[in-house]
């Protein structure tokens, strides 16, 4: 049941876990097979960040990536999704090299605060990403947004689940 134990049991592919800690908080964890200074670098240098933030399965491309990684510095990511474009931007609140990053998301008044910690142990790094939303609705909406970015298979599955949920719900009455 413990995510960390599980990732140690399978050294080839480390497990990503997501947990909803409360109505307003999400926590994502993952271990990387490298020292914290390297993992931190990959989160803070745009030329490296660009290589992993938008995997192919998202069906989007990253048009630009500006990151001024210092307290009070801004970041801005510009995406293309089909014919439409969107941006992800905000401010860095805390920058502790190789151990901690905190930034705000400022696309709306309901933006989240993200805290990423990097904890090195035996040459590996445990990464914990904590997202705090101003309300439950904001978290739900953000989750739906992230889901929209995922591949069509999931959209189709969603439709099916709604259909199934509706019909089996009726049956229970």
């Amino acid at each position: 049941m413990d995510a960390r134990r599980e990732s140690e049991a399978t050294p080839m592919k480390n497990r990503t876990t997501v947990e909803r800690k409360s109505e307003r908080e999400l926590v994502v964890t993952r271990t990387f097979n490298g020292p914290a200074r390297i993992v931190f670098e990959a989160w803070t240098k745009p030329e490296l960040f660009k290589q992993w933030w938008v995997p192919k399965s998202m069906g989007m491309s990253l048009l630009s990536c500006d990151m001024d990684v210092r307290v009070g510095g801004k970041y801005r990511l510009q995406f293309a999704h089909g014919d439409s474009q969107s941006a992800f931007f905000g401010t860095y609140k805390e920058v502790a090299p190789h151990s901690r990053l905190v930034w705000t998301n400022e696309e709306s008044d309901e933006g989240s605060v993200t805290t990423v910690t990097f904890e090195e142990k035996g040459g590996k790094t445990l990464l914990v990403m904590h997202e705090l939303y101003p309300s439950k609705d904001a978290l739900d909406a953000a989750g739906t947004g992230a889901a929209d970015a995922m591949v069509e298979t999931f959209a189709q599955l969603d439709e099916l689940l709604v259909t199934l949920g509706a019909s089996s719900g009726r049956r229970d009455k």
Binding site: M1, A3, E6, N14, T16, T17, V18, E19, R20, L26, V28, R30, F32, N33, G34, I38, V39, E41, A42, L48, Q51, W52, W53, V54, P55, K56, S57, M58, M129, G143, T144, A146, A147, A149, M150, T153, F154, Q156, L157, D158, L160, L161, T163, L164, G165, A166, S167, S168, R171
Partner: protein, 121 residues
């Protein structure tokens, strides 16, 4: 608990990866049906339909009950909770990102090793 749910979701997603099986689930969402009914509706052999129903049953999406010579299929008992599915999609997104980040980390480690060797030379 979370890990258990994710393993079950893997089964569900695998079961749902097939168009016929999705069709069968939709059909069963409307009404229970026998394997014979389903085979006819989807223009399949009984054996073929039994396999599809078996996959859905294993994923916990369908239950079957044999009465006399007729095996009746119905939806359930386990329904995918909307929230669980949502979290799983979010996890898949981050997992895909982190797989790419693994590659970046490997590349940086490789470069450091090469640079370290140069410095010593």
């Amino acid at each position: 608990m979370v890990q258990y749910t994710q393993a079950r979701l893997d089964d569900s997603f695998a079961a749902l990866s097939d168009a016929t099986r999705r069709g069968v689930l939709e059909q069963l969402g409307r009404s229970d049906a026998s394997i014979t009914d389903l085979a006819e509706r989807f223009h399949m052999t009984l054996t073929g339909m039994k396999k599809h129903v078996g996959a859905l049953e294993q994923a916990g999406l369908v239950t079957t009950k044999k009465v006399g010579r007729v095996r009746t299929c119905r939806i359930g008992p386990r329904r995918l909770e909307e929230e669980t599915a949502w979290i799983e999609r979010y996890r898949q997104l981050w997992d895909a990102r982190f797989d790419e980040l693994d590659k970046v980390v490997e590349e940086l480690k490789r470069k450091e090793k090469v640079n370290g060797r140069k410095k010593r030379e």
